[in-house]
Amino acid sequence: MSNSNWSRRSLFRAAAGMAAAGTLAACGGNNGRGGGSGSGVNLTQYFHAYGEAGTEQAIKKYAKAYDKAAVTTQWITSADFESKLFATLLTKNAPDLFEFHPQIQLIKSGQVADLTDIVTPVKDDFNPADIKSHTVDGKIYGVRMIDDPQFFFYRKSMLEKAKVEVPTTLDELAEAAAKLTTGKVKGLYMGNDLHNVIDTMIWSAGADHLTEKNEIAYHTPGVIEGLKKMRKLFTSGDLLLGAPTESWDPSSLNQGLCAIQFCGMWAMPGIQAALGDDWGVFPFPKTIDSGKQSVYNGGWSMFVNAKGENVEAAKEYVKWLWIDQKKYQEEWATDFGFHIPPRTSLAQTATKLKSGNAAEGVRLFNEFGHFDNIGWTQAMRTSLEDVFANSVRKDMDPEAALDKADTAVNRELKKLFG
């Protein structure tokens, strides 16, 4: 009996001890904020998971090399990045700095800090379009890390065999896809959801997302015609659909599932390794006769959480890494996937971008590129994704789909700009 009592009491004490230990552990190191540095400042940064091998290690290497604060990196699965970032920004666990695209909602809601003072001294060395896309009312709110032009990649041998020229119009692209489709290979892959070609299709139809006055600019006859052509292409049977990976991953092209794939310049080293020299690139073709070929200049920028506890320390880190450390910036842009450094001085000297398809990618970027519009928010993007889902993938009238998007976009514009 007494043994039993002693045993139960001991168990209770042990359990209490473990609970206390657990509580202390939770207060300690496993909170995503690192172990501290000499200065005692801990910074947390969020990155979406890049697909190229070595990227995570590189970001952590840069963080480790910084001696004024302990910088912890959270590497977040790509599909979850936006939702996790947005949700966390509302809490006290928000990261001190994070990568994202320039969007005015972040500024209007006071979520990102003004970085004008650290960018201004080197402003002239940045691509002017990158500076413009991060500027609101004369203040600069982010530092561009990389520019990512996106266009079509194609298998030269397959086009030669099918006697197909590189398409320059959307009609030619559809014809090429038909000729290139065989029993095992589909002519064209633009992603399962087609989201990545929405922007380029709009620009290739001679339209834009918003006007200078922040009014709707995408609802044009050219875009409607483009949507109809895209619908025809979608139902032709010449598009690869249901691929295991989305279009940001070049696996479909590399594995011979398609002859032409929409992707980004980051994929070039992987494609070169898989296909040797049997590939080339071309911009999104003209949607209508009066349109113009286009390239989406995507990319990622670094922002500082304005509501964080370490705003100044985070700004110092951003300045140190993404403004002062040119060696790291070039390594980040060209040693894994290929990206164009937003710093003009780096872009001009990056030897890996000087020849072959990489140089062609840079030319397309300069000649046909369109940059992010800071007034075009995530909710507005979703509205146009719905247009593509409804009118291209389903059979909704494009005019009606665009009307529906107008309602949603105008609601956003009214809330943002009054």
Binding site: S83, F234, Q378
Partner: protein, 321 residues
């Protein structure tokens, strides 16, 4: 059996122990014990369930964009917006179609599995485990297997490989909404994940049916098989069936994971939770509209559940026997 002497001996001992040893106090105070054991659970419930519900209710009357501590009161504007938003209203229709199919199908499959396993004379535990194991699998993992392996749209997807043997062209199961093959993928995933759990419930209920009932029926001339099942087994399972249907309906309302993972950013096949996530919460950060939608959904779930319980006589299982 007890004597006065023993009672006399016992009483002072208890009186001494009560103040000195809390262990005895725990046994002696049911109220204290009640709060000791339910208190932590109730605190958790209050913090993680009731507080968010109340907060959500509060948010639904404010313009809460990019914030969960808003200050601009908008009355019922968010409710009006959600109720006139055809995507949200359409998602309720999508759900209704989904529930109308998945609830009876899962019920029938679970019951069939339970009947089969219950009849087994050997390896019953093995088959019970085999059918129950998918319950332990996460919806996300199952969705990815379904999406990338079994129902991949390319030629090396498992289903397309099998169809290819019969000369059928590759099917883009999830990328093309016409024809709506995506429903087949979603429904099979959910059936695989859920049926085993409900099978266990039915199995327990089946084993509770007294054997004498079947013996009496046999003496009265009831034929084994359908007749016995129709007039004895099924009525005896009424209480369990009602509970299973109720649980299935609630689970259908809460469907999110497989839809979210299988149908990434489509405008079709969106149950209400996915619609709310995309349209109001998630990337748009419109917590006011999202909360209004959540409140509407909650009211709807409560109403349907109560109606269904009333219709099927939930809680009257014992009386029906």
């Amino acid at each position: 059996m007890s004597t006065t002497k023993t009672r006399d001996l016992a009483r002072p001992a208890a009186a001494k122990a009560t103040p000195a040893r809390p262990r005895r106090a725990l046994r002696g105070s049911p109220t204290f014990n009640f709060w000791l054991f339910t208190g932590p659970f109730l605190i958790g419930l209050a913090i993680f369930v009731y507080a968010p519900i109340l907060w959500s209710l509060w948010l639904s009357f404010f313009e809460a964009r990019f914030t969960v501590t808003p200050d601009k009161f908008v009355g019922f504007e968010n409710y009006t917006y959600m109720l006139t938003n055809d995507d949200f209203v359409g998602s309720l229709g999508t759900f209704t179609a989904f529930a109308a199919f998945i609830v009876p199908t899962t019920w029938a499959l679970s019951l069939s599995l339970a009947l089969l396993v219950n009849r087994l004379r050997f390896m019953r535990a093995f088959f019970r485990s085999v059918f129950f194991l998918p319950t332990a699998c996460s919806y996300v993992a199952a969705s990815l297997i379904w999406k990338m392996s079994i129902f991949s749209g390319v030629r090396f997807g498992m289903m397309n490989t099998v169809l290819g043997w019969f000369g059928v062209e590759n099917i883009a199961w999830l990328a093309d909404p016409s024809p709506p093959w995506y429903w087949f993928v979603i429904v099979t995933a959910r059936l695989w994940l859920q049926s085993g759990f409900y099978m266990i419930l039915f199995l327990a209920a089946l084993q509770n049916i007294p054997g004498e009932l079947y013996e009496a029926a046999a003496i009265d001339g009831a034929k084994p098989g359908w007749q016995t099942f129709r007039y004895i087994t099924l009525p005896q399972l009424r209480a369990t069936s009602t509970a299973v249907i109720l649980l299935l309906l609630i689970a259908a309302y809460q469907a999110f994971d497989e839809f979210y993972n299988l149908l990434s950013k489509t405008t079709w096949g969106r149950p209400p939770l996915v619609e709310l996530y995309y349209k109001a919460l998630g990337e748009s950060q419109d917590y006011g509209s999202g909360s209004a939608g959540a409140v509407i959904l909650t009211v709807l779930i409560c109403a349907v559940t109560l109606l269904q319980g009333k219709f099927m006589g939930f809680g009257r299982g014992e009386e029906s026997k």
